[in-house]
């Protein structure tokens, strides 16, 4: 459709708005640029307050320190494992549940839907959940990180709504071809659902990547995810760079903290331009009421 476009000159208001928007973009970026600069600067430059957005006295000492720290790669590996396994289990369970729940004619459909919705508004709470996990003897195992979060109700409802929008004729054709429901799900529905699965998969992956609290209350030290390691560096529970002299420990700690921040956030920042369209897709799919 063609709409005739009027070329209006930029008004003062336009200039203000553009300036404001540029400020917003800068505000989103500057913290990361500052962290990057700190992580690459020399301790002398940091202690003399010379570092702002450009690294001064470029060196990779901070990265060297964390990469030679014995447990850093272990924590990083733990996070990768929780993210991969957690996302896989979550997609598996959510898809099975959502596909069955997309069929309104099943008996008990209404009841199960009520169970799902009710649990969104009233959750068990911290202490009962903690006691349950420890009574199931999951504390100190990776399952404590993975199983309780296998199904997120919001993602479940997004997927149910998406699957309900798929025309039933496609399934009827598959039934005539002799497929049963497991086969239909695997061969027909899954390929059609890739956008929706990518969206909720990404939300789930971000959740697992960023999680630290459940690691804190359920896991042993050697099972910690990297975010919990970062938190422990920040509040002084964990120490990196012990070889340094006592005097510049705080500034060394500063560049090391920044290096951990950068390395642990890097995957999200790098993948963000590729993934962001799925995030918004998820929000709009979810707003379509079934």
């Amino acid at each position: 459709m063609h709409t005739h476009r009027k070329f209006r000159p930029l008004t003062f208001a336009d200039v203000l708005i553009y300036a404001f928007m540029i400020l917003v973009v800068l505000l989103c970026f500057i913290p990361f640029i500052y962290m990057l600069a700190l992580s690459l600067s020399s301790p002398e430059a940091i202690i003399n307050n010379k570092v702002s957005l450009v690294p001064v006295g470029i060196n990779f000492e901070a990265y060297n320190q964390i990469f030679t720290y014995p447990n850093f790669f272990k924590y990083y590996g733990n996070t990768i494992f929780y993210t991969a396994a957690g996302t896989f289990i979550s997609l598996f369970m959510t898809t099975l549940f959502a596909y069955a729940m997309s069929k309104r004619f099943l008996k008990g459909h209404k009841l199960v839907m009520m169970l799902i919705v009710f649990s969104m508004f009233f959750s068990g709470g911290l202490i009962p959940t903690y006691l349950l996990i420890s009574n199931l003897h999951l504390t100190g195992t990776v399952w404590a990180m993975l199983l309780p979060f296998a199904i997120n109700q919001f993602n479940l409802i997004i997927l149910i709504n998406f699957l309900r929008a798929i025309p039933t004729e496609i399934e009827e054709a598959a039934i005539i071809d002799g497929l049963h429901y497991f086969g239909i799900l695997r061969r027909v529905i899954l390929p059609l659902s890739t956008p929706a699965l990518a969206t909720i998969g990404l939300f789930t992956a971000v959740f697992f990547w960023n999680d630290w609290f459940n690691g804190l209350i359920y896991l042993n030290t050697d099972q910690y995810p990297v975010m919990l390691f970062l938190r422990n560096i920040v509040n002084g529970t964990a120490m990196v760079g012990d070889g340094a002299g006592a005097a510049d420990k705080s500034t060394i700690a500063m560049s090391i903290k920044s290096a951990v921040i950068i390395t642990s956030t890097l995957p999200i920042i790098i993948l963000y331009p590729l993934l962001q369209r799925f995030f918004v897709a998820g929000l709009t799919v979810g707003s379509v009421k079934g």
Partner: protein
């Protein structure tokens, strides 16, 4: 359908598949699919719900998660008389209201301004960048804040020192800065994300309204005030009511990360109180009682505001 032709008495229209064995023979695989997820739901979503009986029972270590004997409302009476609870309750309300006051209007203003950007590419770019902070871990946000606000070499203190000659302030440790830090970090993290909803609402406004306003000679500002805002009012109302409904649920993880003994008088909220009394001091029943109380208040708030929302704007979340 072929079976129905044998029995001629009930017409084809009256025929509904007899519930029972044929239904299950046909659809059993769909029921099988639900088994694992349902077990998960009962175990991880509903067993903890039942676990709340612990608020009325005494917990003894090693005697199961549901406690040993009934004590009635003893734990509720105890926390009602506990000044620490009322401090946490007050802190929760103040922080929540402060957060709504600042962070409810900001995404609306941002969306309205962004909508005025006529260069579509630039608009898209700003929007994409603006919701990136939503995907950054709270730990990272707090760690970055710690460095930006550091008294020895943080950027903000250096800036204040250079511009106004101010002495460095230990922001993350001083109680009076806790609430601004919490609220402004929420602004940074969630403004762009929340604005998506308003931008979608603005995109749905009937274009003829703007054209009519143009003919009437309305200025750009007048169009925002008299066309755009009234058109997205129902969205604004629903969002406001939802915000009020979740008054007691703050960003628990963020508060926990910002918590230090020296800012405890303002940063101890209900959730951190539950965490400390329950998990750190292992007063399980007492902490469960506090958690249950806040959960019930939360459900009452959500359902009341949802009911109000449905009455006022016809929109509801369930």
């Amino acid at each position: 359908m072929t079976e129905t032709t044998i029995a001629s008495k009930p017409s084809l229209q009256d025929y509904t598949p007899r519930p029972g064995r044929r239904h299950f023979r046909r659809y059993w695989q769909l029921y099988v699919m639900m088994v694992l997820p349902l077990i998960h739901f009962l175990l991880f979503k509903y067993a903890p719900l039942i676990g709340n009986v612990l608020a009325f029972r005494r917990y003894r270590p090693g005697m199961g998660p549901y406690g040993t004997e009934w004590v009635g409302l003893a734990y509720f009476e105890r926390f009602m008389q506990d000044p620490a609870f009322w401090r946490a309750f007050g802190n929760t309300l103040i922080l929540s209201f402060g957060n709504i006051l600042i962070n409810f209007p900001i995404p609306i203003i941002f969306a309205l301004l962004l909508n005025e950007v006529r260069a579509q590419r630039f608009k898209k770019f700003v929007q994409t960048i603006s919701y990136m902070p939503r995907f950054i871990s709270t730990v990272v946000v707090i760690a970055i804040l710690g460095e930006l606000l550091s008294p020895s070499s943080g950027m903000l203190n250096r800036l204040l020192g250079a511009l106004f000659g101010m002495e460095p302030i230990y922001f993350v440790n001083e109680p009076q800065y806790f609430r601004p830090i919490y609220i402004l970090s929420e602004t940074w993290q969630y403004t762009g994300w929340t604005a998506i909803i308003y931008l979608a609402a603005i995109a749905g406004v009937n274009r003829e309204l703007f054209e009519a306003a143009d003919i009437d000679g309305a200025s750009r500002f007048q169009k925002v005030i008299y066309v755009t805002i009234p058109s997205i009012m129902s969205t604004i109302m629903v969002m406001l009511i939802l915000n009020v409904g979740s008054l007691l649920s703050l960003g628990f993880e963020k508060v926990l990360l910002l918590y230090t003994p020296s800012n405890a008088m303002v940063s101890d909220i209900i959730d951190t109180l539950v965490y400390r009394t329950g998990l750190a001091n292992q007063n399980y029943s007492y902490a469960t009682a506090i958690g249950l109380f806040s959960g019930i208040v939360g459900v009452i708030l959500v359902s009341t505001t949802n009911w109000l929302s449905r009455k006022m704007s016809g929109e509801s979340i369930y």
